[in-house]
């Protein structure tokens, strides 16, 4: 698999003259690493990812992908596998059709998927463990299953860099954990370069090599190795919430880190039974 280093220097984007989303934003991620983008709602995580993969385009700044700079948005979009946020209104096509649509960039307007496209799609479904869902209709699946289908679709693009927008936000605890583990596996065993956004700093601390914290304010951000950036102080600055970094040591000596927000004390009503 080819190497994909991604580096942004002084990137900027705005929705109209009065509504800058971010400016002078710089970060990088090396081939095979995981970069997580965290921050409160409305800080521009989704916009940043869309600019990165070429759905939108940066208004300023230099983006370097694998040594190439100035790649136009449409050409750039073919370098990424992109997993958008789950929408409330899923299409009714079969899971296999959805994953094969990941091959669309290789097909002409009148073209049809060939044997190889179906083979790549099957392999992608195997990687995320959804072969048994191939014939099911996408809109009848649970949120967790739909997330996996979209990940398989992104894998079917055969891009070396994967970008996930809030892959865990619509999921319950078990599915969040499985999705995060899947990202880790894709990065460690398959050497994909991964960028994902989340509003949960725990996920970033759990699997990310590097972390970008976007603040509510347009030009404030923190970027660095995940463990240096995600601190109690860093989270207070970005989210305005007190928290504790929780450390759990397993018997074999490995360590898991998590972030627990410290909320205001909650006083329970005394229920008097009659």
């Amino acid at each position: 698999m080819g190497t994909v280093n991604i580096e942004l220097a002084d990137g900027a984007y705005s929705y109209g003259p009065e509504r800058a989303v971010f400016s002078d934003l710089s970060f990088f991620v090396r081939s095979g690493e995981i970069l997580s983008v965290i921050g409160p709602n409305g800080c521009g995580k989704t916009t940043l990812l869309k600019c990165l993969v070429g759905i939108l385009d940066f208004e300023a700044g230099g983006l370097d992908i694998g040594g190439q700079t100035g790649i136009a948005a449409t050409a750039r979009s073919r370098l990424f596998g992109y997993v958008p946020q789950l929408t409330a209104d899923p299409v009714p096509y079969s899971v296999e059709r959805m994953v094969v649509l990941g091959r669309a960039r290789f097909q002409r307007a009148f073209g049809r998927p060939e044997q190889r496209d179906f083979a790549v799609a099957r392999e992608a479904m195997r990687t995320v463990g959804i072969q048994h869902l191939a014939g099911r209709a996408f809109n009848t699946l649970s949120g967790g299953e739909r997330q996996l289908v979209l990940i398989a679709q992104a894998l079917a693009t055969e891009a070396h860099a994967l970008v996930f927008d809030e892959p865990t936000s619509a999921l319950d605890l078990v599915n969040q954990h499985q999705t995060v583990e899947l990202l880790r596996t894709l990065s460690h065993e398959r050497t994909y370069t991964i960028v994902f956004s989340s509003h949960d700093p725990s996920h970033a601390l759990h699997i990310a090599d590097r972390c970008l914290i976007l603040g509510k304010d347009v030009s404030t951000y923190e970027f660095g190795p995940a463990e240096t950036v995600i601190t109690e102080e860093g989270i207070r600055k970005a989210f305005g919430v007190d928290s504790r970094i929780v450390r759990h040591e397993y018997d074999d000596g490995s360590v898991a880190l998590g972030v627990t927000p410290i909320l205001k004390p909650f006083i329970r009503k005394v229920i008097v039974s009659t």
């Binding site: 449409t74 990424f80 958008p84 929408t87 299409v91 059709r97 669309a104 307007a109």
Partner: protein
């Protein structure tokens, strides 16, 4: 999952047999009945001279009057079915039809204006076609000027253009001479193939069929486009060109149909829904299947229109009378959940 490979094959066979039966019935039925055995005899012979004398009138009715009309109904149904399915797909909206973006009203206005100025002749067909295409151009320009690439803005622009051309149609009616021109304009606007001729057929059929072939060839792109503009970009495909192609070819097809048959509502809306119930929502199957169902639907409606009463009943009335109950039944059966 609905519509496995085997049941799709069964559907295709049943639909093709039903289409052949509808074709024969449509050729046979009418004020001048031609028995099916005579139809085979007439098409089997190589000229009028070799036919029994009593068949020569039947031959002339069949070849000069009925055949162009039947072929226009057949291709018109294909065009409306495919265009409707493609439109509902790319806009991912069960209520959208080419009428929504103003093409039908524009084309209707063009033809009505030509009837007003020139009377019957080749002009209504030409004007109908050109104004249909112009309506798309206006909708497109309005949507572009708004600076938004959202489909909703496009549909909104279409609704405005549609209303504008509806008003222009009313203006033409208001201006028209009530004795002579007004009835023919009103009658024509209600939709009818009564004026079908070989001249009209040879101009419109290639445009309608050509557009249908292009749209069917693009059916996998239509699946992709139905995911929405951003998802398509995220998958590494620029949606602009395929989207424009779908709009242009549906417009060509619908304008060509309206320019010969007047405003035939309902078919473009109802046929894709009926077809989706049978073969499922995947456009890989939905587009070819909608072509077949549309052709059957249009043939049946046109045949009914010229047989159940001594005078031709306008298509717009019949399609609504047939379409509305079918639509209601589908709505109840699906319990309000459109699997689109």
């Amino acid at each position: 999952m609905r519509g496995s490979g085997k049941s799709y094959a069964t559907f295709l066979i049943v639909a093709i047999v039903a289409l052949a039966a509808a074709l024969l019935a449509s050729l046979a039925a009418g004020r001048f009945r031609v028995p099916v055995s005579h139809i085979f005899q007439i098409f089997g012979s190589d000229g009028a001279e070799n036919l029994p004398r009593e068949l020569s009138l039947a031959r002339s009715v069949l070849l000069n009057i009925r055949l162009p009309r039947v072929l226009l109904a057949l291709t018109g149904g294909i065009g409306l079915g495919v265009s409707g399915a493609a439109f509902q797909g790319v806009f991912r909206n069960p209520l959208v039809s080419p009428g929504v973006i103003g093409v039908t009203a524009g084309s209707g206005f063009g033809a009505a204006l030509a009837i007003l100025i020139f009377g019957w002749g080749p002009m209504p067909q030409l004007f109908g076609f050109l104004f249909g295409v112009a309506a798309l151009g206006i909708t497109w320009t309005v949507a572009r000027k708004s600076g938004s690439s959202s489909l909703l803005v496009f549909v909104l622009a279409g609704v405005i253009v549609n209303m504008f051309f509806q008003a222009m149609i009313s203006l033409v009616k208001f201006t028209a001479d009530a004795e002579e021109k007004l009835p023919s304009i009103v009658y024509w606007l209600m939709g009818s193939l009564a004026s079908a001729s070989w001249r009209k057929a040879t101009i419109s059929i290639p445009v309608i069929l050509g557009s249908a072939v292009v749209l069917i060839a693009m059916r996998r792109r239509i699946n992709l486009l139905s995911l929405g503009t951003e998802a398509v970009r995220g998958l590494g495909v620029d949606p602009k060109v395929p989207m424009a192609a779908v709009l242009v070819f549906t417009t060509l097809s619908v304008s060509a149909i309206v320019s010969v048959a007047g405003i035939v509502g309902w078919i473009g809306l109802v046929v894709p829904h009926i077809t989706r119930m049978i073969v499922g929502p995947d456009h890989e199957r939905l587009l070819p299947a909608s072509a077949l169902v549309g052709a059957i639907f249009f043939l049946v409606v046109d045949t009914l229109g010229r047989t159940i009463s001594p005078q031709d009943i306008p298509l717009g009335i019949l399609t609504a009378l047939v379409g509305a109950p079918v639509f209601i039944a589908l709505l109840i059966r699906s319990r309000g959940k459109w699997a689109l």
